[in-house]
Symmetry: D2
Subunit: 280 residues, 4 copies
C-alpha cells in the first residue's frame, strides 16, 4: 500500500481588511474574504511515518494570509492570491499550490444624501417581514420589519467604562469595528392603514447606525429605535435585535507588524446579542 | 391530564406572484413570499379523541393563500395578510389567527441602460470568487467568477420540442418563468495581468439573461457564455452552472380561477442543473 | 467560439422507498436517498441552436428514478445506480452517465423491548435542550427537552373526516406514511431536583409514536404528551411541536405501475406544523 | 420616547468539557454544549445615555461559563445552568436571568468489541454515499463512502516536530483533543459485485481512529486508509478527507484556574483540511 495523493491546508480563513489612506484622511474601504489554502507535495513521510519535519502547519498558513494582508493593497483578490502562491510555492516539499477566495461585497451606506466614509451595508440577505395577529374583531395587531440587514462601520465605535470583576478580561477600546445583522420589527398603531413606511424606517435605521458615535451596541440600538419612531408617526413601538458580529484585530506583533485596525478576523460564535423595545 | 394549549397551521408556503397590467402591456413586478399560517381555537377533540370533524386541513390553508393571491394586488403584504386573517377567523372553532410573511426582494435588471420590463436579480447572496493554481514557475492558472447570482425572468422563455419516451410526462410550454442561481467562472489568458474585468463580465451575463429569448436553460447559458467572451478579451474560457430554480404555476382550476402565469410555487428540490464551458 | 464541454441533469431527487414483503406480512424497511443524475454527450445543438430534439428533459430523469425504484429491491444503492446508468446510457446522444446518491439512514425503533415492524428513528440531528429562567429567589423555572428527534412510521396513520370547503382538495387517506421532526420541552415541578428523567421521557415519546394508531398528527401528539406525563412524575407539563414532514406517494400510473405506498417523494416545504401543551 | 424592554447577553458559547477521574485513570466522558446567556434588568442608562458603568460585558459572561465549567461535574446540564443563574442574578442591576443550552450527544466508540475509554462518535449527521460513472460498456466506475462521520478522541494525539519559520506561532503539543468530520470514499475493483462491505470499512476506519496514537491528522488518516484496505479486498483505493475540527483548551489562568485538557472551546472556522488517497 502507498500514499497515492495528498493535500493539506487551511480552509475558511476569515479576513476582513479595512483599507484607508496612509494619512488617515479620506474614506475607508472594506474587503471581506474567506480563503482556502491547499498544498500538495512530497509529504509522504508525514503520513506514512508520522514524521512532521516537513509538515507546514496549517496554523502557519493562516498566519501567512493575515501577515500578507497587512500591506497588500488588495485592489484585486487575484493579485493577492498570486503573491501568496509564490510564497507558499517556496516552502520545502511543496509542488502545487491552490488558493481559493470567496469575496462578500459591502456597499457604502448613504447618509444625508451622501456616501458615508466608513459605514457599509452587506447587500442581500436582507428580507422584509410582516406579522398579523387577529384575536377577535377589532383586536388585530400588525407588525412589519426587516431581518438580516447586515451593517458595518469601521470607526466611531468604542466600548469602555464597563464594570470589571474577577472574571472580566476584555480590554477597553476607544476605536473598534462594529458590525451587526439587524432584525427590526415595528408595531403599527391600531388605526394605521398606510403600510408604505418601510423604506423610511429602513433609511432612518441605517443612517443612524452610520452617523451615531457609539459607546456600545446598546447605545446605538437605542438611537436607531428613536430615529425610526421619529421618522414615522404610524408606528407605536419598535423592537430591535442586534447581534454583535465580532471582528477582532489580528495580533500581527509576532511577525513584526503593527495593526492599526487594518486586518480583522470575523468571528461567527459566540456573539453578543442586544435586544430592546423603544416605545413612544 | 388535559390539552392546555394548541396551534396548528402550515409553514413555509412559497408564493411567487407576477403582477402585470390587465391588458398585458407594461412591465411586470415580482413579489416573493414565504408564509406561515397558524390557527388557535377550540380544537381539543381533534387531539384528545382523534375527531377530525373540526380540523381544518393544513393543505387547505395552503390552497387558500394561493387562491387569495390570484386577484389580490399585493401592494402591501400587511394588507394581504389582513384579508387572509379575516377569512381564517371565520372558519369554525378558530379563535386566534397568526399570519407571518417573509419577503425576498427582487430588483429589476437593467439592459442597455434601461430598466428591463420582466427580468430581475435577487440582491444579495451573490459572492465573488477567485482561484489561483500554481504548478511551477510559469505555469499558473488564474480563474475568477461570481456565484449565487440569482436571476429571474417572467417571460421570453419556452421549453418545447424535446423527445418524449414512455417515462416523459412534462408538458411543452411556450411561456414559462425562468429562474436560476448562476455560478460562473472564467479562466484568464496566461498573460493576463488586468483583473478588473469582473464588472464587465457580470453585466454581459445579466443583460444576456434578460434579453435572450430562451428555448431552454442550455440555450440561454450558451448565449450568456458567448456574451462574456465577447465582452472581455482577457479571458480564454468561461464555465457556467445554472440550476433551474423551478417555479410552477399553481393549478387554481379547482377554485374556479384561471392562472395565466400569475401565481407560482417555487420548488427547492429537485432542480435541473445545466453546466457548460464556452471557449474561444 | 464553441461549446467545449456540457452536462445536464437533475439534482436533489428525493426518493423514499418502503420495502415490504410481497404478501404484506413482516416488517417494513425504509431506504431514503437523494439522487443526482448527470449526463454528458453530443448535445451541442441544444446549446448553440436552441434545438431541443435531442434534449432529454431533466423531468424525465426524475420520473425514471421513481419508476425504476418501484420494483428494484434496493438492497444496495450501488446496484440500483448501475441499473439506472445502463438505462440512461442507452438514451440518444448520451456518452457519459454520472449518478450520485446520498443515503440517510433510518434505525428501527424499539417498543416494549422489541424492534418495531414499521416505526423508525433517524439517528443524529437529535439534540438535548435545557432552559433555566430565574426571576427572583424562589421563582426559578427549569425546562428540558429534545429537539430534532426525527421519527417515521410507514403505516398505522390515517387522515380522514376533516371538513371540506370550496378550497379543500386534499383527499382522505386511511393509510399514509407519517414523519416528523419532534421538538419536546417539559417543565419540571418547582420542587424537582432530579434531572435524570430525560431518557424515560424520550422513550415514552418514541414508543407512543411507534404504537399509536394515528388519526392525525394532533391525535398522536396528544397521546405522546400524555405518555410522557405518565412516565415521569417530576414534570408538570410538556409542550410538543411536530412538523408534518410530508411524504407523498409518487403517481406511477403514467408509467403503467401501481404504487401501494412503496415509492414516496419527501417534501421540504411547505409543512404542516402542529403544536400543543399537555398539562396535569 | 422610552426604553420599554431590554435584554443583553452572549449567544453561541461553545463549551466542550472532558470529564475524567481525578487520578487520571478510568474512561473519559465528553459533554458538548452550546449556551446562550441573556440578562434583563435596570440597564436603561446604558442604552439612553451611553453610560457603561452598569453594563456587564458579554465577553465576561462567556468567561464565566468557562470558569464555572472547570470544576462543575456537569452531570446534569440543568444543575449547571442553575448554578450559573445564581451567579448572574447577583450581578448589579440584573432582574431576570435566562440560560439556554443545547447539548450535542457523543457516543463512546467500540474497538475490539469493548467500549473505548477516550474515543467517541457523534451520532447522526453521518450519511452514506454512492457514485457510479459509466463511460462506455465495460468502463464503469463504482465508488461508495461515508460522509460527515464525526469522530473525537480526548487523548493519544500530539502534534510536534513541525518546521518553524518566521510566520509560525503554533506551540507544539504532546497531548491534544482531536476531532474530525470524516468523508471517505472507496473505489471498487472493476470486477467487484459485492457491495455489502460498507459496514466493515466503517468499522475499520472508526476503530483505527480510536486506537491509533496520532502524531498528526495526516498520520492517523493514513493509518485509517490502510486499515480499510486491509479489511476489504473488494476495494482498490480509498480517499479520505479529514477536516481538523479544532478544540482549543480555554486559558483559565486569568481566573486562577488550571486547565489540564478539561475545558475546550470548539472552533468552526478556520479548520485544517487533510486529504489523501491510499492505494494498494
Amino acid at each position: 500500500m502507498r500514499l497515492e495523493w495528498n493535500r493539506h491546508g487551511k480552509s475558511g480563513i476569515r479576513l476582513v481588511k479595512v483599507r484607508q489612506p496612509d494619512d488617515g484622511s479620506g474614506p475607508h474601504d472594506v474587503i471581506d474574504l474567506t480563503i482556502d489554502v491547499q498544498l500538495e507535495g512530497a509529504f509522504t513521510p508525514v503520513y506514512e511515518d508520522g514524521d512532521n519535519a516537513g509538515c507546514l502547519a496549517t496554523d502557519t498558513m493562516k498566519n501567512t494570509v493575515y501577515a500578507f494582508a497587512r500591506h497588500d493593497p488588495l485592489h484585486h483578490v487575484e493579485s493577492f492570491l498570486l503573491r501568496l502562491a509564490e510564497h507558499f510555492a517556496e516552502r520545502p516539499l511543496v509542488e502545487r499550490v491552490r488558493l481559493a477566495a470567496t469575496e462578500q461585497r459591502w456597499e457604502r451606506l448613504s447618509a444625508g444624501g451622501r456616501p458615508h466614509p466608513h459605514a457599509f451595508v452587506q447587500p442581500g440577505g436582507e428580507q422584509w417581514t410582516a406579522l398579523v395577529v387577529r384575536e377577535r374583531p377589532g383586536l388585530v395587531s400588525v407588525e412589519a420589519g426587516v431581518t438580516n440587514l447586515v451593517l458595518l462601520k469601521t470607526t466611531d465605535s468604542s466600548f469602555a467604562g464597563f464594570p470589571r470583576d474577577e472574571l472580566t478580561t476584555l480590554p477597553e477600546t476607544d476605536d473598534r469595528l462594529l458590525a451587526t445583522s439587524l432584525t427590526a420589527s415595528w408595531r403599527y398603531r391600531p388605526e394605521a392603514a398606510d403600510f408604505s413606511v418601510r423604506g423610511a424606517i429602513r433609511t432612518a435605521l441605517a443612517e443612524t447606525f452610520a452617523e451615531h458615535v457609539s459607546r456600545s451596541v446598546q447605545h446605538t440600538l437605542y438611537a436607531m429605535g428613536r430615529s425610526a419612531l421619529l421618522a414615522c408617526d404610524a408606528i407605536a413601538e419598535i423592537t430591535l435585535a442586534m447581534p454583535n458580529r465580532h471582528h477582532l484585530p489580528v495580533d500581527l506583533g509576532p511577525f513584526g507588524l503593527d495593526n492599526p485596525n487594518v486586518v480583522f478576523v470575523a468571528i461567527d460564535r459566540p456573539f453578543g446579542l442586544i435586544e430592546a423595545t423603544v416605545r413612544r
